[in-house]
């Protein structure tokens, strides 16, 4: 089986499209909005981070509302004592910072005594802890010293004052950057940045190995005790679009950020792998050879769903930062018409390659004023609306078909072998509406 003969027509963008990367994104006008937002705060990131990094514990220093968010809204089911908890700030803590620090030390010491399996403890700042100016960085240093190296204590912010939803992963990983060991001089390695489900990580590992990437690491690692090294030989490849802060911190430590689209869909994945290969001087033909089988398989899988998506109109409400790459996939590989793409914030450095692949007349909005956005949505009446869970049922009740966005963050959707699964997530609500008689 040769790749060339079976390569499906849908893969419209040849690898040379990458030559545009980073120079044409100015073409799309961005409409900025400010107002009421319907998004999670960065604490929500704990939901997947605590599962990914298995020897880490996340202690939110916040209010009952924070605890409530984690327990009920995030849909996290408490089975055992999970690897996250909330230290609830009470009246007394608000009265004096001295008391508050003392109380935090007590809670942490108790927790670490009860859970000897914790190797890394993240103190997670929340809206209230930030407003009362509780210095968790300082507390983390103090507690780390007290633990005498037994437990690493780090701090980051998941507060809604400065993070939205997936940005909580960015602040968490940024806190890990100073902890990464220095890569020995003269060693080249590839560092893939952003949480991927283990199954996807393993697929990518096989592909990178086949390409002949000398040394491959993932951040976050599955165990916080196995942090990847970083240095001037590190090539950084972002697997998620929301890790801009971490990428900048790694660049400060000498790493080189590779510009690439994200590995969603066939062309996204191919270009993403291609960018890594290019950085290591691996020939494009080799990339073609290694990816051909998986790409062909993916094209076959995608075929079935494309027919159901082509020509359908879709709007994205701002939520996870995945909006732009997903819109690009649905537009270019599934033939969907983009009505509006909303993002919580636009990080041009992380989105350059993606924006190049989007139509220049795209209605792109940054930030949110939810009521006005809903007014536009009602006027547009797209065939499919991607939105958060707070809005999905009310919009369905208005006759709009929705896809709840949180599933796109939790499900394995990256890479060749998930391209069809990703398309199916958008087909299902349309399909469902067609099936139901009432």
């Amino acid at each position: 089986m040769t790749a060339a003969s079976e390569r499906p027509q849908v893969v419209a963008a040849p690898a040379c499209d990458l030559s545009h990367v980073g120079n044409a994104s100015g073409g799309i006008a961005v409409q900025r909005e400010q107002g009421q937002r319907q998004v999670f705060c960065g604490l929500a990131g704990i939901v997947w981070l605590h599962r990914k990094i298995q020897d880490a514990f996340f202690l939110v220093v916040g209010s009952r509302t924070c605890a409530h968010l984690l327990q009920s809204a995030a849909g996290v089911m408490i089975f055992a004592e999970p690897r996250f908890a909330t230290a609830v700030l009470g009246d007394r803590d608000l009265a004096g910072l001295a008391d508050c620090n003392e109380e935090l030390d007590r809670v942490v010491t108790e927790l670490l005594a009860r859970r000897p399996d914790i190797g890394t403890l993240f103190l997670v700042a929340s809206c209230p802890s930030e407003v009362i100016k509780l210095d968790l960085d300082n507390a983390a240093e103090r507690l780390s010293r007290e633990q005498q190296g037994r437990v690493r204590v780090l701090a980051y912010s998941g507060s809604g004052l400065d993070t939205t939803f997936t940005q909580g992963e960015d602040t968490c990983l940024t806190a890990l950057v100073p902890e990464l060991p220095e890569a020995p001089a003269g060693t080249d390695s590839l560092l893939v940045l952003g949480t991927l489900p283990d199954v996807v990580e393993d697929q990518f590992r096989r592909l990178f190995d086949a390409l002949g990437i000398p040394s491959l690491y993932f951040l976050p690692p599955r165990r916080a005790s196995e942090l990847p090294p970083v240095g001037p030989g590190t090539r950084l490849l972002a697997a998620q679009p929301f890790v801009g802060g971490t990428a900048a911190a790694l660049v400060d430590r000498g790493a080189t950020l590779l510009e690439a689209p994200y590995p969603f869909g066939i062309e996204g994945t191919r270009a993403w792998l291609g960018a890594a290969a290019d950085a290591f001087g691996i020939a494009a033909a080799r990339v073609e050879e290694v990816t051909a089988a998986a790409a062909t398989r993916a094209a076959r899988g995608l075929e079935r769903y494309r027919a159901q998506l082509t020509g359908k109109r879709i709007s994205f409400l701002p939520d996870s930062q995945l909006e732009i790459p997903l819109a690009r996939f649905l537009h270019r590989e599934c033939g969907m018409e983009l009505v509006e793409v909303g993002v919580p914030y636009l990080d041009r450095r992380m989105m350059g390659a993606e924006l190049d692949w989007l139509p220049s007349d795209l209605r792109l909005t940054e930030g949110q004023d939810v009521e006005r956005q809903l007014d536009r949505l009602r006027a547009d009446r797209p065939d499919l609306t991607v939105c958060g869970l707070g809005l999905a049922n009310p919009l369905e009740a208005e006759g709009l078909t929705t896809k709840w966005s949180i599933e796109l963050v939790f499900s394995p959707v990256h890479g060749f072998d998930q391209a069809a699964d990703l398309a199916e997530l958008f087909v299902r609500p349309l399909n469902r509406r067609e099936r139901l008689a009432f």
Binding site: S63, T65, N393
Partner: protein, 516 residues
């Protein structure tokens, strides 16, 4: 959160909360858990770090103006979420100074000290007070006016446990006793409806956690008596009708006699013999927990081994109830504390909230949900009240179905080695998909080997006794639904006597000591 529940229960009310982005997650509890087709009527100021350098008060005013313009509420609730409270922008005072046409009700909800139920109760109370302020006391007299007595049903809210069906059932129940419902609030009411509260002859406090303070205030201000019995269970429903009779000055004995429920007969039928003395652990809001304890003991013949609640405001009532069953009440909002109580007591059935459902699932104990916090499953499509005579039927089914059926228990003992009934087979009514207590137990334990084994929950506890392989095998002969208890009892027995290795003898010594 409490304030949002009141606003979301009503119509024509809007709530503006001074809260950071992220707090809007509260919306999805309504739209997803209760499958609400409408967004809760809440506007969040969504302030961010960059706003805090500037004038957040100006931001509050802008949101207030936008919300009033867009939603045109007939009553506006204004408050702060926890972080909003720290900014001290006084949003309610700002709103009152903005000259809106609708009444502005300031919410003073100290989010750092009080919880959701208190917040809901206080919001409802403030709303009723603000709207009824200055209204004259009326003296409605059904006989003089030639009508049936009229009652208000107070306390049902969005996200409450089975409120939708309870209102329908209690309305039916009151109708059978010759009482009309004037209105239900907060659920389903408009601000104009609240103005009609004084037109009723009395109030029914359906959910004390939400409505007790309002009922007490209405009694003081409007001389409206109120019915305090919560009609959950057959006995409580009868008591409720009796109290309605006293408060309304009517004879409700015919209604009591006519009440149809299958619970008493089902409980007497021989299949239910196996329910006798089943050890049950109860945790929930105070009203549901207290009602459940009464049903469990008086109507199903269970033994209540644990009774607890997260409602600190009703700790006294709960302690009094616990005393009746000779146990100590557990008042806590720490689910770890609840979990350790469940594990220590090793009940055969847990009646709790969704949190206890997870605890029970993990411990392999059957469980039924009796109280909020709720799950999407607690908003069933079918009619499933907890209150009234039909509620008693629903409760019988919901509590008994998770347990092994009477006949099944016997079959398992008889055909223990049989393919269909072997240890790891799941009770037939649970379907093949679920994991039985037995397999969970097996999975958690190392297979019996030649080496003595230590119970998995005791790793780290050096004093835990070891099981001799023969004792471990003997333990397996005990039906799985009591095996966990047998294991714990034996270990406790051994530990208390300083026995380091559990033999077959120790197992039977412990059995004799504890009895079944």
């Amino acid at each position: 959160m409490g304030a949002i529940r009141i606003a979301a229960s009503m119509q024509g009310v809007h709530c503006v909360l001074h809260a950071p982005q992220g707090d809007s997650y509260a919306d999805l509890l309504f739209t997803m858990i209760a499958r609400s087709a409408k967004r809760p009527p809440v506007t969040y100021t969504s302030f961010q770090a960059r706003d805090m350098g500037a004038d957040t008060a100006e931001l509050v005013q802008r949101r207030l103006r936008e919300a009033v313009e867009r939603f045109q509420p007939r009553a506006l609730l204004v408050g702060e979420a926890c972080t909003g409270e720290l900014l001290q922008d006084q949003p309610a005072a700002l709103a009152q100074g903005m000259g809106f046409d609708c009444p502005v009700i300031p919410l003073e909800l100290p989010a750092f000290t009080r919880k959701e139920h208190w917040g809901a109760s206080e919001t409802f109370h403030q709303l009723v007070r603000s709207l009824l302020r200055g209204q004259p006391v009326r003296a409605p007299d059904p006989i003089a006016e030639g009508r049936r007595p009229r009652a208000n049903l107070l306390g049902a809210t969005a996200l409450g446990f089975r409120c939708r069906d309870d209102i329908a059932e209690v309305t039916k129940l009151l109708d059978s006793a010759g009482v009309d419902v004037n209105l239900s609030a907060p659920a389903g009411a408009t601000p104009e409806d609240l103005l009609r509260i004084p037109e009723a002859d009395f109030n029914v406090c359906l959910y004390p956690e939400i409505a007790q303070s309002t009922c007490a205030w209405l009694e003081r201000m409007f001389k409206q008596p109120w019915v305090k019995t919560v009609p959950i269970g057959v006995g409580a429903t009868r008591d409720f009708l009796l109290e309605v009779g006293q408060v309304a000055g009517i004879d409700t004995s015919t209604a009591i006699a006519a009440g149809r429920t299958r619970l008493p007969w089902f409980s007497r039928s021989v299949d239910s013999t196996y329910l006798t003395g089943k050890r049950v652990f109860i945790f929930g809001d105070a009203s549901h927990a207290i009602a459940a304890a009464r049903i469990a003991t008086e109507e199903l013949g269970f033994e209540v081994v644990g009774l607890g609640s997260y409602s600190r405001e009703f700790a006294r009532e709960l302690r009094a109830a616990a005393e009746r069953y000779g146990i100590e009440a557990l008042i806590t909002d720490d689910y770890l504390e609840v979990e350790s109580a469940v594990l220590a007591l090793a009940p055969e059935l847990v009646l709790g909230t969704q949190m206890e459902r997870h605890i029970a699932k993990r411990a392999g104990i059957p469980c039924a949900v009796i109280s909020a916090p709720v799950h999407v499953q607690d908003f069933p499509a079918r009619y499933a009240p907890q209150m009234g005579f039909e509620g008693a039927n629903v409760i019988f089914d919901t509590w008994v179905h998770p347990l092994m059926m009477g006949l099944e228990e016997h079959l398992i003992t008889m055909f223990r080695e049989d393919e269909e009934f072997h240890d790891e087979a799941v009770a037939s009514h649970l379907g093949s998909g679920s994991v039985s207590a037995a397999s969970a137990d097996v999975a958690a334990r190392p297979a019996a080997t030649a080496e003595p084994t230590r119970s998995a929950d005791d790793i780290g506890a050096d004093a835990a006794p070891l099981w001799e392989p023969e004792a471990e095998l003997e333990l397996k002969k005990i039906p799985f639904f009591v095996r966990g208890k047998a294991r714990r009892n034996t270990e406790r027995f051994a530990a208390e006597r300083g026995v380091a290795r559990i033999t077959v003898e120790t197992l039977y010594d412990a059995k004799a000591y504890f009895g079944r």
